[in-house]
Symmetry: C2
Subunit: 226 residues, 2 copies
Amino acid sequence: MGPLPRTLELFYDVLSPYSWLCFEVLCRYQKIWNIKLQLQPTLIAGIMKDSGNKPPGLLPRKGQYLKSELSLLKQHFQVPLKFPKDFFSVIIEKGSVSAMRFLTAVKMENPEMLEKVSRELWMRVWSRDQDISEPQSILAAAEKAGLSAEQAQGLMEMISTAEVKKKLKEVTEVACKYGAFGLPVTVAHVDGQTHMLFGSDRMELLAYLLGEKWMGPVPPTLNARL
Amino acid sequence: MGPLPRTLELFYDVLSPYSWLCFEVLCRYQKIWNIKLQLQPTLIAGIMKDSGNKPPGLLPRKGQYLKSELSLLKQHFQVPLKFPKDFFSVIIEKGSVSAMRFLTAVKMENPEMLEKVSRELWMRVWSRDQDISEPQSILAAAEKAGLSAEQAQGLMEMISTAEVKKKLKEVTEVACKYGAFGLPVTVAHVDGQTHMLFGSDRMELLAYLLGEKWMGPVPPTLNARL
């Protein structure tokens, strides 16, 4: 029997494109590295409020840079990112409370579906420029991910319960306690120590911490399989 | 004869620890990749002012994170970073105008010494927690880098000239025109296109753009030589 896998917690929000990049990289490497990935749906608005930080896209020159950088990262990471036409309305105004509460309910009731439903929500908002704030939008993503209409409806009913609201709030508070001021945040538990890493661009540093091999955002063993 | 080397411009300020990481990585890879590295001493305060951005260390939770992250990056990048005890006084209050004007003068008069003098200034402020704002501090770095006392004194006299002041201002404006809102900024000129990359964590993406191989922040061929 080899050494026990190290636990990695990924705190993410589907509003955050860099969370998507980080999510895909960790989903790929969970099949390669000796890790146990715990997906933690988090509310980015709660993190911004608690830390006093502001979304980077609000500074005009940063916003412009993010746009051009994401079109390069899209190719490099092989994640089909596309900037929403009306960034301000989609990302800042509409937000992700319902979507992240839905993912919280998925994690409680159908945890084996969390990866797929999260990905389908990102595919909507950060690839096809589709809404993720209306119930029918979230239900469509859930069904596309493989949940039955009945399951999806049941989870949708859960998002207004105190239990789900409280759970999302708690996870967001945990991220803040780890020191989050944005997302994605990866928390690595290695040899009794806890390391918090911010951003999708710390995966090579994560490999270094884990003593695992970094093979780029699309590891070749996976690449060969695609 | 192989293909012509691609020009990379590195805009940096010695106040910025991430600029140091980027600088060392590019100095290492200039011996491996088919690139021509142009060092561009820039004033970070000018970039912050022009873009409306704020130094990340000013948000308390970000400041705390930077500190713990830099101690990991120090090992991973093999750059002897150490956080100054009085960050606010050294980085925000004292700043780097004289140091960056001095480097501007070095670039004009002794360009072959720019890499070494830049490194010695970083060694002072970001490794040994020593001043870089007083003339004698800058002269000490210059002499440690290999300039004679006479050469260093001559360059020091240049920093109050209109020519040097204007040059530093111009380079800072060029960085802003490329879209800079912080440093380091790497501008890659590839196949008639210009790509601006922000941060020390975009070197793998840079390799992808250049069609070169990324071998981590300490490429093994160099590692073997150390």
